[in-house]
Amino acid sequence: MKLIITDIKDFNIPIQEEHKIISPQGDIRNCIGCFGCWVKTPGKCVIHDGYEETGIDMSKCTEMILISECCYGSVSPFVKAVQDRALSYIHPDFVIRKGEMHHKRRYENVISISAYFYGDNITETEKETARNIIEANADNYCGLVKNVQFYKTVKELEDITL
């Protein structure tokens, strides 16, 4: 399954395979740092606003595709809120990988991540930050980076193949 997380409300780029789209359909609440998704309802966020199961969705996907405005090298607040609220995809215990601390896996699936950033004035430094963060995400999810691309407008994005 392909999991698409985007801040584009009326997202209508065709996707061939089985997929799920998480886009702004109703307000999203931000993570409050309570770790309830690890120690109260392990695997699910404790805030019930329709965005609490992304950690589970991630366990069922082979590919995660982030389509987001680029904000200073980060994904946008909406996409970031979805990512923050999906902390429970990973297990709270630590492991050391390549000499650095990361979290253990909760699930076995290996996710390949693609990111399509848009914005009319994305600087070269922001692009570098964005690429670095997607790499770091892949390390933390114990997954892989497939593709990171930048576009000026949402319109330009319509030509991509997902």
Partner: protein
Amino acid sequence: MKIALINGSPKVNNSASGVILEDLKYYISEKAEILDIDFHKSVVSEEQLKILNSAEAWVFAYPLYVDGIPSHLLSCLVQLEKARLQNHNIHIYGIVNCGFYEGIQAEFALKILQNWCIKAGFTWGGGIGIGGGGCLSMMPKTKYGQGPKAPIHKALELITDKIIRHETQENNYVSVAFPRFLYKMAAEMGWRQLIKYNGGKAKDLKKQWK
């Protein structure tokens, strides 16, 4: 000189960011007037904008979330960029704490703040990445410059000097002075205690949803 200390953790109480800012105050308070600002939610109030506009330096303390900045704080930054404050002589400093042991893992969360400075028209003053942040709010108060927080205190002392002088520093990455394997063990014991406290079992920590 007025310095705004901004707590960017979504946690209202017991945040590591709060502990770090309290410790920073120990070094700054005699040299400048401190303005406390909380960014626990995704909106910056008019009142906060006014206070911020009167400060010469802003110090953001925030946690690392999924290799970046927590979403609510990112919303605040977008709002601040759009607010186009009149005072453009402001220096921005960042102190990111993370759950992992290595402070360097906060590198890109500092970079986001630095990139934001350019877009919002502020001057980047540098930052600190603190590893082992998970234990900061649980630690008893120690003497400044001693105990597991010693490397953090040293970094705070150094950045204070830069803030007061309106200077910029290279990012400084530190960890708590506590062996990594013990930090890992303590955290893992902590999760087991918490889940039991919530009425669950240790094995539920690894629950998989089908």
